[in-house]
């Protein structure tokens, strides 16, 4: 009788503990899953704007910016520091420190896919590289790159789901700027890799899925010999074609069939990497493992 009583007491206490643990887990889950459609403030169970939390985020941001500057010579800007640049490119500034921190971490891991020596070329040749973190563009852009006559390069990137891909895309433009400064006709044979009589169209709305491997509805082209472009946007211009191809291979997890040795896209990839190899040490570039 006494044993039974003790067991029931223990199980009751266990239920209470389980209840408390489940409530706490629920709080964390709600906090994690809580998105824009729910009023964050009213749902917030703990003040995420607490001094300690903000301090921690700021220290993280500061450390990450310093590391990026030390490792790659890149200067990262965000918040009010970027207001004039944001106005210029029709974007809004990014002030939320959580998002800034998150994007910085993604940027850091994105840059880890490149050998550091690639960025040393910029430093050694007096190119200045700034990354400007933005909230969003008021037009359809996700990211932009710019270069002025003083070789000051700026990479504007907004807080989008495909942040990493956008950074790879813009970085390729930047690499191309650098290569073009040394040889303006660097990709002169690029059109040879396209279908006969193909012409790029500088009108995004008129671009269709012909010859595109990755269609917008996520359906892949069945016959890989018919694919020449990784995305529809790659048909906009030769520069965008190269940037799209490069960005696509930099975010791969497995080797896709369009990288088979005889495929049209593979020829483009080979051309890009061979050309880059003339100017940069691309030995340890992330995508190399998919194009052996």
């Amino acid at each position: 009788m006494g044993e039974e009583n003790s067991n029931s007491k223990a199980s009751l206490i266990s239920i209470i503990i389980l209840f408390l643990v489940l409530i706490l887990i629920s709080i964390f889950v709600i906090k994690t899953l809580n998105t824009e459609d729910v009023d964050t403030k009213s749902f917030s169970l703990v003040n995420t704007d607490s001094k300690e939390y903000i301090a921690s985020q700021k220290v993280d941001i500061d450390l990450c910016i310093k590391s990026l500057n030390k490792l790659y010579g890149i200067n990262v800007m965000y918040g009010q520091d970027t207001i004039n640049y944001a106005n210029k490119v029709e974007a809004t500034i990014l002030t939320d420190i959580n998002t800034v921190n998150n994007n910085l971490q993604i940027l850091y891991h994105t840059l880890e896919k490149y050998p550091k020596s690639m960025f040393n070329n910029f430093k050694n040749d007096n190119y200045k590289l700034d990354v400007i973190l933005l909230d969003k563009f008021t037009n359809s852009n996700i990211a932009l790159a710019s270069k002025n006559s003083l070789n000051e390069i700026k990479l504007y990137v907004s807080n989008a789901d495909n942040f990493e891909r956008a950074v790879h895309h813009e970085l390729f433009h930047i690499f191309e700027y650098y290569m073009e400064d040394r040889n303006p006709s660097i990709f002169k044979n690029w059109m040879d890799f396209n279908p006969k009589n193909f012409a790029y169209k500088l009108d995004v709305a008129s671009l269709n899925n012909d010859f595109v491997y990755l269609k917008e509805d996520n359906q892949k082209i069945v016959n890989k010999d018919e694919s020449y472009f990784v995305t529809k946007y790659a048909k906009y211009s030769d520069k965008e074609d190269r940037a799209e191809t490069f960005a696509e291979i930099m975010i791969l997890a497995n080797t896709p069939d369009y990288l088979n040795k005889q495929s049209n896209i593979r020829k483009k990839v080979d051309n890009i990497l061979t050309t880059m190899n003339e100017y940069f040490d691309v030995g340890n570039l992330y995508c190399n493992k998919f194009v052996k």
Binding site: A10, L12, I16, L20, Y53, N141, L144, N148, S149
Partner: protein, 347 residues
Amino acid sequence: MVRKKKKEKEKGVFKREYIKYIEAVVYILAIIVGIFACNCGPIFIKMLPILFILGVVGRIIFDRPIVTTIFGFITATCIIRITGNLSLYDNLFISLFNSLNIALGELFGEYYLKSLKFFKKKLSKKKGAILNYIITGVILIVSIAVHLYTSGNYISYYKARANLNKYLKEVYENQEFSIIDAKYTFYKTKSYTFEVRNKTKEFNSNFIVLVTNDYAVYDEYIFNIQSQNNTKLNNEFDEFIKQINIDKDIDFKIGYLNSGDVKLIISKNVESVDSLQAKSFANVINEFINRLKEFKYYNKINNIEISLVDNGNKKNSLVSSFSIKDVQGVDNLYNYILDSFDTEFIN
């Protein structure tokens, strides 16, 4: 005789009831004092496993399972509400962790009593007894882990304190500080917030040592100093602008980068930007930067940001920024500014 016996019996019952009430008062006071010490006491007390002990005592000595947890939760909610300025949600969150620590203590107490029974009956080698001992041990380990997570520990506290002292010595060489109190935070970031008294300048300020960020120190005091200095710099700069006769349509102001560096923001709004406007603007900036060396705090300016804003179409605005160091080595500043405006964009 019977009456005497009845009286004695009544007296015994009364005594038992009396003791029961005293015991209940002691029990309730123990909960209130324990919860108060854990939420409002000095950090050295907060780091003691008082709530866990409260749960154990509530079960073993007072034999009131569950009640201690429920009372604890209600008491914590009330004490936090009275003593702190926290939101209802924060209050609930902290109270839940308080009661979790108590409940773990109660559960440990329950299994400890069961283990004791097995031990006394010399049934330790029985399968049920071994399992019971194991469960008791596991509960104790979980309780310690939860306590350390929610209340901090002496090792990390002293490490944080040592890092703070080191920081204070490095950054404020000639000033004397003393730590008044500290607070531990575990949600999202583990940190100790130290309330520090600046004995030299006689005021208090907070310093946050972030355990999760390798004990980095976040200094609130330095921001106060910076903002005081910035006000001074702003006033001096306004005076300087008044002294030099420069295009009144151009707006000059001092700004600050996220890094804390001082930047000079020069901007002009025009109806539409054309090459003539750009050249004229570059010319004025060129003259201004040359005269800027006369500014008393010239050495404190790190960056210059210039923008010629097109009111009709912001896209046509010209924006550029450079460090003072970059500018110092330039022979033809006018061309340099124009070159910095000459920008090509690509999607």
